[in-house]
């Protein structure tokens, strides 16, 4: 963007820079060698029709040219004078529109102008002209846009428009055309005329026009394109370019058939742009009609940018439409590589029904735990996750519970429920693995917190153990662990005296241990040493107060 634009001035002369008589280049910042090539492009476009400045923008294939021209009288024969900016790939149609308000027109000296000096003027000009574009009478503009769509791929002329630049800007913003324009011409004849030519009136001629003429006073024959154009214009008027950004094509339609295809693709129904971000702006009646057939909205939600769908999810729209958006968002958000923005937007609609999630299962359990945590009620999540972990082996299930016990206790609880269902049928190795695991003692405590709850849950699990397994052979690892809640559960559930005796022993052991007492030695047979006898370790007796005073 360090390039600059060159300037050329045209007016009538006895001898131009090219040595010719007539309207020609009389001054330029360009090297002489380049003027002739530019003149071949410019010479038919430097003629003005009135004293008010008119602008013509041309594209050479490699660079642009913007011509500002006025009629001159000056006491002599009425003629034309033109000032041209040429060169620069960045001199696009839109930049050209912006530069029409440049203050450097008609400067006395022509020099190369660096783009850095022009860019601010172009940006400001674009803003100014776009403001006028959005203020154009919408019905009139819609008619013109409909005509333009009907004439897709063809050069065209526009008759009797008061603000041609504003219309060009609107066309450019809405349809992406024209690639070249002339804001005020007496005639639209000639093969070198730019794509869009504005005429104050239909030129008088005996020759059939070479181009389509668009007139706001003539109703478009194509109702479908008119309706679409109307929707485009109203969105543009309300929100500017953003209003149509979601439906605009990357390249303008090449013919009327493509224009129709675009119109169908770009509307939920005739007159309603297929733009999820504008759903909430629609009138109640239109929303009701869309709600009666939410298919198009749902279909658009599937392909729309995630940010747009997320935005739409955050707006208030009637239920059938909202459900369609949620459905589409779920489809795009639930898979492991699903969109996080959508998931967050969906969370605002939580809790959703578990049935909505069902079509997107099975899915990775970690992802499911995350997704269900955001979207489902606790009850529904418990149900979904309980079912989802059914496929895990007993040992994997125990691990899964353990991994979530601290950070996602609800998911771990679902795993526990699955384990409850499965315990009655567990094979011996799995049962052994279970009682040796930390499920009952550590994980349940992490999940449930309070010992009474842990005891109840553990009791439920123990109660479900296969018949004949409430014995020391099975339960010893649990008892040895010594967790009070687990011991409580065992004592609650198991009737086997040996087991219960082992529990009591473990309790006593724990009790003494808590007092830093060693396990009591079994009683000696009669005649043995009395406690406090010679085997008492004197050195470890606590000293009394009397002992201290004695010293």
């Amino acid at each position: 963007m360090n390039e600059g634009l060159h300037q050329i001035r045209y007016r009538w002369t006895e001898r131009s820079l090219l040595g010719e008589r007539g309207m020609g280049p009389v001054e330029s910042s360009l090297p002489q060698a380049h003027i002739e090539a530019w003149d071949a492009l410019l010479r038919d476009h430097v003629w003005a029709t009135g004293p008010e400045p008119a602008f013509t923008y041309l594209w050479s294939g490699e660079a642009g040219a913007l011509i500002r021209k006025v009629t001159t009288a000056g006491g002599g024969r009425p003629g034309s004078s033109a000032h041209v900016l040429v060169g620069g790939r960045f001199l696009s149609p839109k930049v050209a529109i912006g530069l029409t308000t440049w203050t450097g027109w008609d400067a006395p000296e022509l020099t190369e102008v660096p783009w850095s000096r022009l860019a601010p003027a172009a940006r400001q000009g674009i803003r100014d002209v776009r403001r006028r574009s959005r203020a154009l009478a919408p019905d009139r503009l819609a008619v013109l846009v409909a005509h333009l769509l009907s004439a897709s791929g063809e050069p065209f002329s526009v008759l009797a428009e008061a603000d041609p630049l504003a219309v060009v800007m609107a066309f450019t913003d809405l349809v992406g055309r024209p690639a070249g324009f002339a804001t005020d011409e007496a005639d639209d004849n000639g093969t070198s005329m730019p794509e869009a030519v504005f005429l104050k009136e239909a030129p008088f001629s005996t020759t059939i026009a070479a181009r389509r003429r668009l007139m706001a006073q003539v109703s478009p024959a194509d109702a479908e394109l008119h309706t679409f154009a109307d929707a485009l214009v109203r969105a543009y008027r309300m929100q500017g370019r953003d209003g149509v950004a979601r439906v605009r094509l990357a390249t303008p339609p090449g013919d009327a058939a493509e224009a129709h295809a675009w119109a169908r693709r770009a509307q939920f129904r005739p007159g309603v742009l297929a733009d999820l971000t504008r759903l909430h702006l629609l009138g109640t009646d239109i929303l009701r009609e869309l709600a009666a057939d939410p298919g198009p909205v749902t279909a658009a939600a599937i392909t729309a940018p995630a940010a747009d769908l997320a935005y739409a999810l955050g707006q208030a729209v009637p239920e059938p439409l909202s459900a369609g958006l949620v459905t589409a968002a779920l489809r795009r958000a639930v898979p492991p590589d699903g969109d996080h923005t959508l998931l967050e937007a969906l969370a605002k609609h939580a809790p959703i029904g578990p049935g909505l999630l069902a079509p997107y299962l099975p899915v990775d359990l970690d992802r499911l735990a995350y997704v269900t945590g955001l979207l489902l009620s606790r009850e529904d999540r418990l149900s979904v996750l309980t079912g989802a972990v059914a496929a895990l082996s007993a040992q994997d299930l125990i691990s899964w519970i353990g991994e979530r016990a601290t950070d996602d206790p609800d998911a771990a609880w679902a795993g526990f429920h699955q384990m409850l269902d499965r315990v009655p049928g567990l094979a011996r190795p799995d049962l052994d693995a279970l009682v040796r695991s930390q499920l009952l003692a550590v994980y349940l405590r992490a999940v449930l917190g309070s010992p009474p709850d842990v005891a109840r849950a553990a009791a439920m699990l123990l109660a479900a153990f296969p018949e004949g397994t409430h014995d020391l052979g099975t339960l010893t690892p649990l008892i040895d662990h010594g967790d009070p809640a687990v011991l409580h559960a065992v004592e609650t559930v198991v009737a086997d005296p040996a087991v219960r005796d082992a529990v009591l022993r473990r309790i006593r052991f724990s009790f003494y241990q808590a007092q830093r007492l060693p396990p009591p030695a079994p009683p000696q047979p009669a005649g043995g040493d009395a406690p406090g006898g010679s085997r008492w370790p004197l050195g470890r007796r606590r000293r009394s107060a009397n002992d201290r005073t004695a010293t």
Partner: protein
């Protein structure tokens, strides 16, 4: 350029694009309100009189009306002998003012024209009215300077007249007046009237002539382009001349009237009677030729030297320069009709014998 072909069917060349038209089968059209063609159909039960009346303002296309670039010609264009006349000269030579003045005079209904037995009427009423409103009236009535003819203007005839001579023979006259910048282009595929032109009026701008002989003046590029285009046409049998009638007109002659006595004398003889007296043309031609030679303007004499028939004239469309975009009280047209009448005589609209010695009622002889 009309001629029978295919067992008597009339084939006409479009004066604008030279396309051949099967005239008898070309359907009639009218211009709609948006200047687009609308097919003209005869209503059931419509009387001949009504239908003929409609056809008087109808057109025939030179091709498919759905195709851009097709031209619409007056419905009766080929009923008369077509004569195409083009203006040639560089930018601001004075072509537009001269032609507007010529047509203004031709259509003025001046009684002297009836002495020639000529009656003039619009051939394309629509085009003629436009031409009168845009050019003739502003110049001759409002005395306003006409704007530049733009080089991007459509290439088509600017006026079309039906002219009938004393023998009752009618002609379709079409006039072309393009910008000098355009006429100077060596290649311009849209400018095709050279291929058909019966006469060219070469307009010499006295302000661009060399001040003295042997100044190395190269002439008017547009003259060279026109003469070059004529090379492609068949030459008259047994001659090396270019097949076109040429009227070489030193326009804006008022600007040089005080620098050359001959010019002054001819302009002084610019009355109506003299203007229609073609017997003086030969003398005037000699004087103009001599004047241009004296000025070292030999390059401007090429049309007179190379064309099959040629005349030379002094004329002024305004009798003075414009001031502030208008003309002062001295404004009048001087000798503008004569070059046109000479052109008529060279193209058969008027009898060529009119160039001969004056009859008993003729005006004065050449000024000396």
């Amino acid at each position: 350029m009309t001629g029978p072909r295919n067992g008597g069917a009339t084939v006409v060349e479009c004066p604008i694009c030279a396309r051949l038209i099967a005239w008898d089968t070309a359907a009639p059209y009218r211009f709609g309100p948006d200047n687009q063609p609308v097919a003209l159909t005869r209503q059931p039960g419509e009387s001949d009189h009504s239908w003929r009346d409609k056809l008087r303002t109808a057109y025939r296309p030179c091709g498919d009306v759905r195709q851009p670039g097709t031209h619409l010609l007056p419905y009766d264009y080929a009923d008369y002998a077509p004569v195409t006349i083009g203006m040639v000269g560089h930018s601001k030579a004075g072509k537009t003012h001269l032609l507007a003045a010529m047509i203004g005079r031709l259509c003025s209904n001046d009684p002297v024209l009836s002495r020639l037995g000529l009656s003039v009427a619009p051939l394309d009423l629509r085009v003629h009215q436009r031409y009168m409103a845009d050019l003739v009236t502003p110049l001759t009535v409002h005395r306003r300077q006409l704007p530049d003819t733009q080089a991007n203007a459509r290439v088509e005839f600017c006026d079309a007249l039906k002219i009938t001579n004393a023998e009752g023979r009618s002609f379709s006259l079409t006039f072309f007046d393009l910008a000098g910048e355009r006429l100077a282009r060596a290649q311009d595929d849209e400018v095709r009237f050279y291929a058909l032109a019966d006469a060219l009026i070469f307009v010499v701008d006295p302000e661009s002539l060399p001040a003295r002989p042997r100044q190395g003046a190269t002439g008017d590029v547009s003259f060279d382009v026109a003469l070059h285009h004529l090379e492609s046409r068949d030459r008259p049998r047994g001659s090396g001349f270019k097949p076109v009638s040429a009227a070489v007109v030193v326009a804006k002659a008022d600007l040089i009237r005080f620098s050359d006595r001959v010019v002054s004398d001819w302009l002084a003889r610019g009355g109506s009677d003299e203007e229609v007296e073609l017997s003086t043309v030969e003398q005037e031609s000699e004087d103009v030729y001599a004047y241009l030679s004296r000025r070292g303007a030999d390059a401007w004499l090429r049309p007179a030297q190379q064309c099959f028939r040629s005349t030379l004239h002094f004329a002024s469309a305004t009798n003075g320069p414009a001031v502030g975009g208008g003309f002062d009280a001295a404004f009048r047209q001087c000798r503008v009709l004569k070059p046109l009448l000479a052109t008529f005589a060279m193209t058969g609209v008027l009898p060529e014998s009119m160039f001969g010695p004056p009859g008993p009622s003729a005006g004065d002889g050449p000024p000396r």
